[in-house]
Point group: C2
Chain length 418, copies 2
């Protein structure tokens, strides 16, 4: 029997999604997971915590989709209306799920919190639903079936939503075989603007096989280039895409990094680990953000020893031994000062590599000579000293992010130039 492509849609519920307070990251995560399972998402709808609007959206979804994934509004407070809407739409009466209530009791006992009637009520769901146990929180998910459509209700808290989804999705998508699975292939290109990347790759892009989708995903200082498609022969497809991405990478010598599925921070961590070298940082304008990026990856203590965040010039003098006269002659944002900072943090913290950043993050503090966005970065390993000046924009947070990423890129370049 020919299997059909299943039609999936999302419904995200919450006033915070419609009043400018919250960004709907749940939809993005769920759509990404669906794609990886070979399931195209038809549409995403967001409505507020309104019984009328939730029911209207459920009705519409029922007419066109095989699986409807709903998030939000399962919390313990009175502004959460999703359970009421489900009860009204699917019928039934509220009933306690003994196993869920027991789990909630245990969770509160473990954490030493007082258990309230509200918390217990989270373990009640309509008796027309199948309960989806929540391994990390108090609100269980619910699964309903009406006519030929499966309705899955998940909590809005991302960690709880993800945990329940990952445990149950094969059942919901089990009958999808026609398109094969979705295959992604990724790499990262660094320090080059998106339009320049697109321009450089226009000929390469024109020759791509028709079945492949190409995406440029820019973030502060980085553009990730991604190929994707549906395929039944995942291995062969992956190989072909990686070959094409290698060709693309050759357009950007020294600026392209084969990150595959890893985040930039994870990629940096792995590269450092593989060289068996340690690193320390001396930060001025980035104020600890580079240290944070490096230590956000589990196991970072294997490569990282620490940082001196020398926000004030006194700290640069007293703890990084930058001579007062160097600061006076060249200013804190200079090739000379960052070079000393990088070399001295390396020596003091006894690491293989020392990195220093000093700049004007903005919005204030710029001069005609050194406008906001001027950043000096130095990387030292005892033999080599790489220094570079960047002229970034006027957005403080973006300048901080881009500086950290550029410093990490300079470290990776130093590692390969030895």
């Amino acid at each position: 029997m020919m299997k059909k492509t299943i039609r999936v849609e999302m419904l995200n519920i919450g006033d915070e999604l419609l009043n400018g307070t919250a960004v709907n990251t749940n939809a993005t995560w769920l759509c990404g997971r669906c794609m990886h399972e070979g399931v195209n998402v038809l549409a995403v709808t967001m409505v507020g915590d309104s019984l009328e609007e939730i029911m209207r959206a459920l009705k519409r979804a029922a007419m066109r989709s095989d699986v409807v994934i709903i998030t939000g509004g399962l919390g313990p407070t009175s502004d959460d209306r999703t359970k009421d809407a489900a009860l009204a739409w699917f019928g039934g009466t509220m009933a306690p799920v003994t196993s869920e209530i027991e789990r909630i009791r245990q969770l509160f006992a473990e954490r030493g919190y007082p258990l309230t009637e509200r918390n217990i009520q989270q373990g009640w769901i309509p008796d027309t639903a199948f309960s989806l146990g929540n391994p990390v929180g108090t609100a269980p998910g619910m699964e309903f079936r009406k006519d030929d459509t499966t309705f899955v209700f998940l909590p809005g808290v991302p960690a709880e939503m993800k945990a329940i989804f990952d445990q149950h999705f094969p059942r919901w998508f089990g009958h999808n075989e026609i398109n094969g699975r979705f295959v992604f292939s990724e790499m990262i290109t660094v320090g080059i603007g998106e339009s320049f990347v697109a321009e450089s790759l226009s000929e390469w892009q024109a020759n791509l096989p028709k079945e492949l989708s190409l995406a440029f995903l820019p973030s502060a200082g980085l553009v990730k280039i991604r190929l994707s498609c549906f395929s039944k022969d995942i291995k062969a497809t992956q190989l072909k895409m990686n070959m094409l991405l290698s060709q693309a990478a050759n357009h950007f010598p020294g600026d392209a990094f084969m990150t595959a599925g890893a985040s930039w921070d994870e990629y940096f961590h792995r590269k450092m680990l593989s060289t068996d070298k340690t690193i320390s940082t001396a930060e001025s304008c980035t104020g600890g953000y580079l240290a944070h990026r490096i230590t956000s990856v589990p196991g970072s203590s294997a490569i990282y020893r620490g940082s001196i965040v020398a926000y004030h010039n006194d700290i640069k003098e007293g703890f990084l031994d930058v001579p007062e006269k160097t600061l006076a002659a060249h200013g804190a944002v200079s090739s000379e000062v960052t070079a000393i900072m990088a070399e001295n943090i390396r020596r003091k913290f006894q690491t293989d590599i020392g990195v220093a950043i000093s700049g004007i993050a903005g919005p204030d503090g710029g001069t005609a000579e050194k406008p906001v966005g001027t950043v000096w970065i130095a990387v030292a390993d005892g033999q080599q000293l790489h220094k570079k000046m960047f002229l970034m924009g006027s957005d403080r947070i973006r300048n901080i992010e881009k500086s950290a990423v550029m410093a990490m890129k300079m470290v990776l370049n130093l590692l390969t130039s030895q």
Copy 2:
């Protein structure tokens, strides 16, 4: 004549919204702007770059809304289908908008880019539309009217979308006067779980005036409590809401902070500034993240001098003078070690206040005695020394975030306890 409340909805178009690649920040921004103009957004829909799905969504929106704001799919590449859908739905023929084409020519000349036929085509729109000039990019917006509904098409590029919206929205919302403008009132409650906050406030909540909406907005370590409503007398409403929030704050002595519209970091910055005191930090498990939070606010050099990120115990010994025998006897994650770190960073960096954090962020490194999520924080000002142990969860990033926020809270408590 009685004016009616206008019904507004959003339609965001783009494959990237449905495949897990992009987060729909345009909807969040647009919803926020609508709310501030006194306009409730009914629903947000996202569909891919599919002629069929776009037309279906337009049809549905036409049935229920007075204003439909559509973003995305106006770009120059072949995967952008929005103009085709508009042409099919509203009729007409494509026609050049002379002023737009002239503007595109100028833009390319100024930037020194070669002008292609594709770029010129962006200046063509259906002749059934009113053109909305794009002050910052190449794709003009379009405005259609069909039956009693206004359809506004904006580019997906955030800067372009925002610029066009801000120039034209009064016309679209001009007939909305019945509800007045939207008023927000905010405060922050710290270090207490959402369900406990809701429980403590249940009586207060039951007595709230009916016209006010209440929201609990949790983030790592914090719950923000917000009241909002539509009002014509903004000043009086703001006063009433602030009074009610003061009552709510009284339920959480030492844990409630009147942040109003400020972010937590901005609030911390202002409080520190108002006391004229300086601060330095000594971080282990948070790896520079506390320093980053403090320095993410412009002007932070007035309150902040720097940090020693002592990720490795050698750094704690060598640069924060933690005795080797104290480390051996109590471990790095201990009351004793964090107390010494806080006092020594304060003295060494010559600040009024020193803060130290040491913990096990996870996912590895826990023991039976000190499980993952154990965090010690100490705050010292030369006279007082506040120390506290926290038992957090197993999520590394969340533990890092929560530790930084708890440390900032302890500093604020120290300031007011003097």
